[in-house]
Amino acid sequence: MKKYYVIGVLLGQFKLRHDFIFIKTFVSIIVENTPKRLLVLLMTPVSIYAINYS
């Protein structure tokens, strides 16, 4: 029982860490970029997709 508990805690920590990295990356993308760069970063892949698959 104790073994499963340890694995559960470890997995939980792993998930938490991943969530934290994801949130950190997301926030840093918004904070570090200028609005114009952010717009280009978001819109260019959409345009590439539209051009290639239209």
Partner: protein
């Protein structure tokens, strides 16, 4: 939408009449069907020594719409400088940049203009380039490059390209001016990759339009001598290094230059002439390093993306 056509002429007597005829025909067609205004054809002459200029002048006297403007340069200033002059003289939203050794399809402009209307961040469109001698065969569907700046073909026939093929492409004038035009230091060869990289890094998209066709005679106006073969190789090697220095971030630049030197050592082992040409190319880069670094800092300010993102989007391919 209004469009101008810029042709850089240098001893293209053989191709001049067919090119002008096809262009005038396509401009009329474009106005009739596509609803766009083909305003002018600007011919920038790089001190031609044959009768090509006379052919263009005769055409300009006969035809009033589109207006044919001729600009004579006193010496051969190279393709890039001449293109910059042509684009500076054009006062339209779109500018088509063409080599003189080709002819165009009657309705080549219509799908390209539709693309520019559809996508507001579209900077450059390349038509499908077929062979002049064999119009059924495709010559180029656009260019990609690897991490060290070697050209790769568009093997997956993707519609988005890293760079257009230099023979024929249409640019949005505002994008071209924003990135500072072509670098006149390049003279010729390798300028399209520099243009493509700078366009992408500034957030502009480059695409291929397969419905539009032009027919190009590869090397039609470049005399084929051994000296010119070496000059072409020298300019390609030199411009490849300059493009890397100007566009990459410091970390990627260090890796790319180290790899490139390693690749060039192997190239140099093939023959003494190749080694000599590569060394001269590197010497020329070092001699002009101050200018190149100044250009790098000029472009850094306009950079919105980096090469890591372009690699992630599949535009820069593995070596």
């Amino acid at each position: 939408m209004r469009i101008s056509i810029v042709i850089v002429n240098r001893n293209s007597e053989v191709f001049a009449s067919k090119l002008t005829e096809s262009l005038i025909h396509s401009c009329k067609n474009c106005e009739r069907i596509g609803g766009c205004n083909c305003e002018e054809i600007i011919i920038v002459d790089n001190a031609s020594t044959d009768n090509s200029l006379r052919i263009f002048e005769e055409c300009s006297k006969k035809i009033t719409k589109p207006l044919i403007k001729i600009v004579r340069l006193r010496r051969n200033t190279g393709f890039c400088y001449a293109v910059n002059i042509g684009v500076a003289l054009a006062n339209t939203e779109l500018v088509a940049i063409l080599n003189p050794d080709l002819y165009v399809d009657a309705d080549w402009l219509i799908p390209i203009i539709e693309d520019f209307k559809k996508h507001p961040r579209l900077g450059v469109v390349q038509p499908l380039i077929c062979w002049y001698q064999n119009p059924e065969q495709i010559q180029s569907t656009g260019l990609y490059a690897d991490f060290v700046g070697n050209y790769k073909g568009n093997i997956f026939n993707s519609k988005t390209l890293l760079a257009p093929f230099g023979a024929a492409y249409v640019v949005r004038r505002s994008a071209f001016v924003e990135i500072g035009g072509l670098d006149s230091f390049y003279f010729m060869y390798g300028d399209e990759l520099d243009l493509g990289l700078r366009m992408w890094l500034a957030g502009w998209i480059i695409m291929l339009e397969p419905k539009s066709k032009v027919y190009h005679y590869m090397g039609g106006v470049t005399p084929s001598s051994l000296y010119l073969k070496h000059l072409k190789y020298l300019l390609m090697r030199q411009n490849q290094v300059i493009t890397l220095i100007k566009s990459l971030s410091l970390k990627s630049l260090f890796i790319a230059i180290s790899l490139l030197i390693f690749v060039n050592i192997f190239r140099g082992l093939k023959s003494k002439e190749t080694l000599r040409t590569i060394l001269i190319a590197y010497y020329r880069v070092l001699r002009n390093i101050r200018y190149i670094i100044m250009q790098r800092y000029r472009y850094l300010r306009k950079k919105l993306l980096n090469e890591e993102i372009l690699r992630h989007w599949g535009l820069i391919r593995p070596i």
